[in-house]
Symmetry: C2
Subunit: 244 residues, 2 copies
């Protein structure tokens, strides 16, 4: 099995990390659209256009599945990708909701969805959760989290002040969906603020989803990883060495 993993930038490497740990693919082609990152502040038509360009890119590699690691792409462009793809398509929203259902059947569980403005405005997580009967849901777009991660402030005073700014009026949830590939990198600080909440990470969710939906098995210990970026591929390779 050969996967194409698409993200607006370098954040999707957090999903690649989970795929590698679980040995699901023989080969992974990663494409980060670093020249046009971030997608989370762009509008629907722009996100669809950029996603279809990424689809064309993956057609050159004869992949079996294209994984949109970017939540904004998953929120707005999955249908258009499915209509135009000669291979399977998966976003991270269905996997995130599946992972939540795997962890609780209590429909009264308080669920906090964290995402970019684009992801939150789409209401895709919220609608799918309501479809499955969950109703105690709050959505929040803490827009400074992405730049803080990109600034490398994974700990410290700035991060804590910003977390407090966004969370001070939020009642502690039972589950937090980390609806942006950047957020796992500050999950420790989020967990410290809400110590009793279970965090759901797109990478782990994707592994569960692929195993349950496509019956993929842990069988490729030496996945080949090829990295591409629309700008500054050296920086992507550098970050992949640190994160993976």
């Amino acid at each position: 099995m050969k996967a194409g993993v698409f993200d607006s930038g370098v954040g999707g490497l957090t999903v690649v990390k989970s795929l590698l740990e679980h040995k699901l693919f023989e080969e992974i082609i990663y494409f980060g659209d670093t020249a046009r990152v971030p997608y989370g502040v762009k509008d629907k038509n722009t996100i669809i256009r950029y996603s279809l360009e990424a689809l064309e890119f993956f057609k050159n590699f004869d992949v079996d599945i294209m994984i949109a690691a970017c939540n904004s792409v998953s929120a707005y462009a999955i249908e258009e990708l499915m209509e135009n793809a000669p291979f399977k398509i998966s976003g991270v929203i269905d996997p995130g909701v599946l992972a939540l259902r795997n962890r609780t059947s209590d429909k009264n569980s308080k669920i906090l969805i964290l995402g970019t403005r684009a992801t939150v405005n789409s209401q895709k997580y919220e609608r799918l959760l309501r479809h499955y009967g969950y109703h105690n849901i709050e959505s929040l777009a803490p827009s400074l989290f992405v730049p803080i991660v990109e600034e490398g402030l994974f700990e410290g005073n700035v991060l804590e002040t910003v977390i407090n700014h966004y969370f001070q009026n939020v009642k502690e949830p039972d589950f937090i969906i980390l609806g942006c590939t950047h957020f796992p990198l500050i999950s420790k600080a989020i967990k410290r603020y809400f110590p009793n909440a279970t965090l759901i990470h797109s990478g782990e969710a994707m592994v569960e989803y692929l195993e349950e939906t496509y019956h993929l098995k842990e069988e490729f210990p030496d996945t080949r990883l090829k990295l591409f970026a629309s700008e500054n591929p050296d920086n992507l390779k550098k970050i992949s060495k640190i994160w993976l």
Copy 2:
């Protein structure tokens, strides 16, 4: 006189505001590349490519001068714009340095340059200041300032914590060059941290530069303003109503 003002997003409206207040143009065409903002994190070749596309856009309007309000464009693409333009080109770096020279001839003045990573890495302000004999220069890229402005946090705890994070090891300067169109919107808080520093704003600097270099006069009280954006022009118009 007809001006085309180009910015990566909405921030260039702070320059338009100064141009309107000083009544320098009969007509201003503003183009914000909101679909691909921000430029400050992109590399040189990408910034040049996007700037040349904006140049083509302004060719349709028969402008007399194209003003790059974006510091990242001014740092990387001015020469390429000049080579390809049938009209005058001005960035904000020459004006910023001229405004500083208009305010002090003391070459020992301590000057702090604040800009995006792209602007600071270009060293364009620094080299030009050194050319004029200033040598007590520090450059800083407070990358969270732009997202904080875009989040509308012009006051309060988050802004103050972030300002303290970046400035805590900086000795109070005599002059601060606000080398990014977003920074005038948090100039009060910057001024509160460094109360004795004189702040230099790209908009005011541009007015001084146009008056001194092209002998423009304050003669158009009813400037026509046309706004264009590569994405979500309604948002640009909404922000222009608030800012202008």
